[in-house]
């Protein structure tokens, strides 16, 4: 049984007790399994990759001409998660260099 700590700020009474069945059910329902270290590293990697793609999205609009260098850069970003299986892999990725506009 999980403990719950309750403080009455008006009286100063502080108790720690087992959760009631209702409190335990609510607690259990809120439990989220955290990502593993590798999953978290991939989440972070994709978040940064997506930001870098967004930064160059405007070059790929239909009324713009996308240079070959920019096309290669953006494809390299999309491919950066390929073959990664460990946190060390993720931490050692080499980011492509953004070409001049």
């Amino acid at each position: 049984m999980t403990k719950i700590t309750k403080l009455n700020a008006a009286t100063g009474e502080l108790i720690t007790r087992d959760m009631t069945a209702e409190e335990q059910a609510e607690f259990d329902a809120r439990q989220v399994t955290p990502p593993t270290a590798f999953e978290q590293s991939m989440i972070d990697l994709r978040q940064l990759r997506n930001k870098l793609l967004q930064d160059t999205d405007h070059y790929a609009l239909s009324d713009q001409t996308l240079s070959d260098d920019m096309r290669t850069y953006r494809q390299s970003l999309r491919d950066i998660t390929n073959g990664l299986t460990t946190v060390e892999d993720v931490n050692s990725v080499t980011w492509p260099t953004k070409p001049g506009a």
Binding site: T2, K3, I4, T5, K6, L7, N8, A9, A10, T11, G12, L14, T16, M19, E23, E26, F27, R30, Q31, V32, T33, P34, P35, A37, Q40, S41, D44, Q47, L48, K51, V87
Partner: protein
């Protein structure tokens, strides 16, 4: 008032040996009385009792060390005495790595478990930006991705008029510490709860397992 030199083993009984007002340093003149919560203020030439010097000050309402618990509730916390509140959490640790510190508002022993809107921006020590947010969530966010190791998480939060009938309960918070699998991180969060109930308390927890250590202080912000 005449001044008499007193010897090393002599003392003055302030209750019975002094009449009039107490002398103060630098030749100022003393005050005879004051009111609750006033401070003495020396202006350079005189001493005043000044309530204004205490305005905006923090008044400690409660301080608690938490350990080995799945939830920490504070009830009968908010009242008409203060409009806004400061909450400081320090040395916070949890059993499970990479978990999310959250809090909820409470009233009449009921925890509000829906309707929270929040957004956060921050950074990792690698320089990478961190942003997050939720609509109609089950809680307000303090910080996510906290590491469960010898390092800890801390936060500085302000709650705005939680006891008021305002339709929107607001908070701002800055939190930081050790990030799971990484170095440091910091995030600034803010949000609102569209609920016009007078809130009277708080619940703190993490989204997986127990909180294992930490200190939480709540202050009322004195308005005048």
């Amino acid at each position: 008032m005449a001044i008499t030199r007193i010897g090393p083993n002599q003392s003055i009984n302030l209750a019975s040996n002094i009449t009039g007002t107490l002398p103060v340093g630098n030749g100022g003149i003393g005050i005879a009385s004051g009111t609750t919560d006033q401070f003495l203020k020396f202006t350079g030439t005189t001493t005043l009792a000044s309530a204004a010097d205490n305005a905006g000050g923090l008044v400690l309402i409660t301080e608690t060390n938490i350990s080995g618990t799945g939830a920490f509730d504070i009830d009968n916390l908010f009242s008409s005495t203060y409009r806004d509140y400061k909450v400081i959490g320090s040395g916070l640790k949890q059993a499970t790595d990479n978990t999310h510190w959250i809090f909820q508002l409470r009233y009449s022993s009921t925890t509000v478990s829906s309707g929270y809107y929040w957004a956060g921006v921050g950074a990792r020590n690698t320089g990478s930006a961190v942003d997050a947010g939720e609509e109609n969530a089950s809680d307000f966010s303090i910080i996510s991705n906290a590491a469960s190791d010898t390092h800890a998480t801390s936060f500085d939060m302000t709650l705005y008029d939680p006891y008021g009938y305002q339709v929107s309960k607001n908070y701002t918070c800055i939190a930081g510490g050790r990030r799971s699998g990484d170095g440091g991180h910091v995030i600034s969060t803010s949000g609102f709860l569209p609920n016009d109930t007078r809130m009277t308390g708080l619940r703190f927890n993490v989204d997986n397992g127990n909180m294992t250590a930490g200190n939480i202080k709540v202050y009322g912000i004195k308005g005048s």
